[in-house]
Structure formats: C-alpha cells, structure tokens
C-alpha cells in the first residue's frame, strides 16, 4: 500500500528540514502504511507523552532527535514527567533514575515543547476547537480532546507524538476522518436513578464499564444530564481509556458531536444497544478494587487525571470537616495552573495544615512518590485504580471522594451505605 506524499513530505524525507525531521517523517510514513492511510494531513497542535521516563531507549530516541536539530512546528504541550520539578524532595527513587528522567524532560523542552507537565492539558490552557486536527498522546487526554472538545486525534503515544510535532503531519486515517467518528454502540442509561447520574462517583465506574465492553469501537452514552460537567467527562474518559482503548465517546445532549442520538450515529443504525443496569455497575465498581475494605489503609491518592480547581473546591470543605489521620498518607496530583489558583485562594495552605501533600508535574502511579510500601491505596479515580496494583505494588480500594476523605479521617475504609442503593430498595 503506497502513501501519496506531498512535496513538503518529500522534502522532510530528503533531509531538507534536518536529520531529526527526516527520521520523524520516515517513522510517520511507516506508520501510515501500518494504518493503511493513503496520505498525510496537517495538524495544528500536539500533546506529547514521550517526556515520561520508561527506560534508556526513550532517552536515546529523544537525544537522537535533539542532536539532529529537531524543533517542533506546532504548539506542543508536555504530559507528566517522572519528577515533580517544584518539589525536589518528593521523589522517592534512586538519584540515577531522577537524573535520567530530568534529562528526558529537558530534551523535549529543548525541541520547543511547552513544559506544562500535565495529563490534563485541556484544563491548563490547551484547548483545540471543534474539528481541529491534532496529534495528542496520553489516553485520557485523547479521550477528552476528541469527546469533549470535538477536535480530532488518533491514539498517539511516545515517539509518534514528537514525530508529528516535528513535521506537523500525521497519517490521514482513524478519528481524523469524519466517517470514523460515528458511534456504533449505544449505552442506554435510562434505568439509572437521577441521583446516581448526577453523582461524580458514577463517572469512573461507568467509564470503566463502557471501556471494557466496547474496547475500540466508538460508544454513545444516552441519558447523561445536560449539565454534566467537564470533570465528570474527564473521569469517565480516563476510566474508559484505561479499561478499553476508547479514544472517542459521545454523550447525547452533552458532547459537541452528539446534539442528538441520531447525529452521534450519523443517522445509521447502531451495531448494539446496551441497557446499563445498576447491578452491572456495582460489579464493575467491585472490579476496580483489588483489596477488601478490611485491608489496612496506607494511603489516599487523588488526581488522575490531574485535579482541577473545581475538584479542589469540592474537596476543601470535606477535609476541613474530616481531616486525615496522621497514619494515612494523603497525596493529590495536579498541575501548576491549579496549584497557582489554590495557593492564591489559601486552599493550598489549608491542605498543608491538615497534612495533605500536593504534587505537581507527575503522578503517584508513574513515579515513586508514595512512602507507603504495603496496605491499600484508596482512590476515587478509575485510572488510579486500574494502574495502582501493577505500578506501585499496593492493593487498591475504589470509593467516592467522600468515602476517600472519611476513610482517611478514620484510618480505615469507610463506606457510604446509600451511595449505590437501589432507589427505594436494598443496596
């Protein structure tokens, strides 16, 4: 299968724009063949994941590009790194690892990428518009930029993200094309109570459930309230992108490409219609925990994706009422934008006073920050729940934000008996 190249594409391959860009274009053309794309198209922005240290090979790749004079041609923001650059003492791993991680982060900056260090760039001033072609990495950000902003990105990741940014080109395929953005599976939420549909705890559970079920096909959720907010959609997309490979979901009356169900379906019949029952969601909720509620509680971690200012606003009154016990490590991951806002509002000081640690630029799951070595980590994040056991060695307990805060205060897992109750019935 041959890829039709523009004269600019050929100029890149000939090395006219430098050695780094030449390798970048070679990789893009290879990938175009893998995808079955017949041509490339222009992008207007990138969000780049390659700055997170996974091993020396990633650093070698970045250094090859820097040495080859690579400079990005479109606005390119950076995802989390392995270090909280503002709080040097928060890193709990070996110094050689910290050094390599820092050099990797610096290499991407050297190529012109913006060091915002967040997995929620869309809440840190990077918000492409409806229909914009972009190359975004980081599974939750891909889901958000496609679903909530209506921009168009495939599931980019390490290596191809910087190749796209260096050339401003990507294979014309997948979600860049209108016809591939059609919803094929409908999730009918009409059997769920209004209370549950408005409760933030539903977002990661529903997202995890939908992702595991539809995997790579595009789902449409029918029945979310019209005022469903971005943090809810953020958590839903992050969970769906963890349990499945969801890069785009539609929500009727909520997301921009789904003003109606028919619009989301491109006026075609769905392949499947799934009626979501409370019982299914309870089962998914249970999958999110790998330890039972009697497991000693070692830590609470919030902020995957990075906590927004609004999420801090919800949290503050809760921790003022129920401050964490000293025996429980309590960490919140966020970005510098939210941190600046909460420093300004005095909330950061309040959190410090009650012993809560706010970490920026990184995340407890990608890098050693937690001091806890055994016991359970409790979280309200579906994404944290999915990755914690493999990446930290801790067991994980999933709960709502209120359950997390009250558990931290008690020093053991606390459950709200009404949270998942059948309306008018047993829980």
């Amino acid at each position: 299968m041959s890829v039709a190249l523009s004269s600019e594409d050929r100029a890149f391959l000939a090395g006219d724009h430098g050695a780094a860009e030449k390798m970048a274009m070679r990789i893009l053309v290879d990938m175009a063949k893998v995808y079955g794309a017949t041509e490339l198209l222009d992008i207007t922005s990138a969000h780049i994941d390659g700055c997170l240290f996974h091993g020396d090979s990633g650093l070698e790749f970045a250094q090859r590009l820097v040495n080859g004079g690579g400079r990005v041609r479109v606005r390119s923001t950076l995802n989390v790194g392995a270090l909280d650059l503002l709080h040097a003492d928060s890193f709990n791993g070996p110094p050689e690892l910290a050094d390599r991680a820092r050099r990797l982060m610096q290499a991407y900056e050297a190529m012109g990428c913006e060091p915002i260090w967040t997995c929620a760039p869309y809440q840190a001033s990077h918000r492409p518009g409806l229909g914009e072609q972009v190359a975004w990495a980081e599974s939750n950000a891909i889901a958000f930029v496609n679903s909530v902003l209506g921009a168009r990105s495939n599931r980019y990741g390490d290596f191809i993200d910087i190749c796209a940014a260096l050339t401003g080109r990507v294979p014309a395929c997948g979600l860049h094309l209108e016809r591939n953005r059609r919803a094929r599976v409908v999730y009918d939420l009409s059997r769920l109570s209004e209370n549950l549909l408005a409760n933030p705890v539903l977002a990661p559970v529903l997202g995890y459930h939908v992702g595991a079920d539809c995997r790579t096909t595009v789902p449409v959720l029918d029945g979310l309230p019209a005022d469903t907010d971005e943090d809810f959609l953020k958590a839903l997309g992050a969970a769906a992108a963890s349990s499945g490979a969801v890069a785009l979901f539609h929500a009727v009356g909520v997301t921009p490409e789904a003003p109606t169900l028919a619009a989301a379906l491109h006026d075609l019949p769905p392949e499947r219609v799934v009626k979501v029952e409370l019982e299914h969601l309870r089962r998914t909720r249970d999958v999110l925990s790998t330890a039972d509620d009697e497991t000693p509680l070692a830590a609470i971690a919030l902020g995957s994706p990075h906590f927004s200012y609004e999420e801090f606003a919800r949290l503050l009154p809760l921790v003022e009422r129920w401050p964490p016990a000293a025996s429980v490590e309590f960490v919140i991951c966020t970005n510098r934008v939210a941190l600046a806002l909460i420093e300004n509002s005095g909330w950061a000081a309040t959190l410090r006073e009650v012993g809560i640690r706010v970490v920026v630029d990184t995340c407890v799951v990608v890098t050693p920050i937690l001091r806890a070595m055994d016991g359970a980590l409790m979280t309200n994040s579906g994404k944290f729940a999915h990755y914690t056991p493999g990446n930290t060695g801790l067991a994980v307990v999933f709960g709502s934000l209120v359950e997390c805060v009250r558990s931290a205060a008690l020093g053991r897992v606390w459950r709200d008996p009404d949270l998942w109750r059948e309306p008018g019935g047993e829980s």
Partner: protein, 125 residues
C-alpha cells in the same frame, strides 16, 4: 496465549519480561523469547515505549501475533528498528486462524513474515 488484551504500560515489566497486570489471566507469565498471541493491546499509549525498552533489554517477545491491528505495538517495533536495527515481527491473523491457534501449536515465523502453524503433535495431519 493471552486470553485478554494487555496494556504493555502497567502490564509488562521490561526488566524481566513478566506480565504484571494483576487483573490479567496470564499475570505472572513471561513473554521473553516467546511468540505472544493476544487479541489487541489496550489502555496507555506508552505501550510502544515499553516494547522498545524490552527490545533494548533483550526481554521482548520473539514475535507478536494479533487478532486486530495495534498501531501502538507496531510503532514500538518501528522505532526499535530505527534505534537498534531489530524488533519482534508483528503479524495480524485472520479471525479463523486466530481462533484456531492453540498454545501447543508449533509456530514458525520467517524473516520475510511468512507464518506457518505446524500441526499439534497429537493430531493426525
């Protein structure tokens, strides 16, 4: 053979080649030097990094057989070829061939990408 999709990021440890996704049916098994058969990858786009690192450390699978296209794994292999001149071949099997595969099968993959499945020892040709 992996019964479920696997995210290599958070799911595979490149230092050892072990499957570390504790919710995965094949958790605790090792992929190094083996032909890994899986439906597709899932989750994090950083899976290509993990595959690249496994190639660098010598813990990568000998080959990867998929039921559907996984561009993230293909990318890891493409970059491995650019940096290290070697990578596990990745092939996509037709549905009938994929479901017919068994862990007892002997599978041969040539450098040109031709895949031959030999009959299982206990069946008659």
């Amino acid at each position: 053979m992996l019964d479920e999709p696997l995210s290599l990021w958070g799911g595979l440890e490149p230092l050892t080649g072990e499957i570390i996704d504790r919710r995965h049916p094949q958790s605790g098994e090792f992929v190094t030097g083996r032909i890994v058969v899986l439906p597709v990858g899932r989750g994090s786009s950083s899976a290509s990094s993990v595959l690249l690192e496994a190639v660098r450390l010598g813990t990568a699978p000998a080959a990867i057989l998929l039921a559907e296209l996984d561009p993230i794994l293909a990318l890891g292999a493409t970059v491995a070829r650019e940096l290290y001149d070697r990578a596990p071949p990745i092939a996509i099997l037709a549905p009938a061939d994929y479901s017919a595969l068994d862990t007892r099968d002997l599978v041969e993959l040539t450098a040109a990408g031709a895949l031959t499945v030999r009959a299982r020892p206990e069946t008659t040709p």
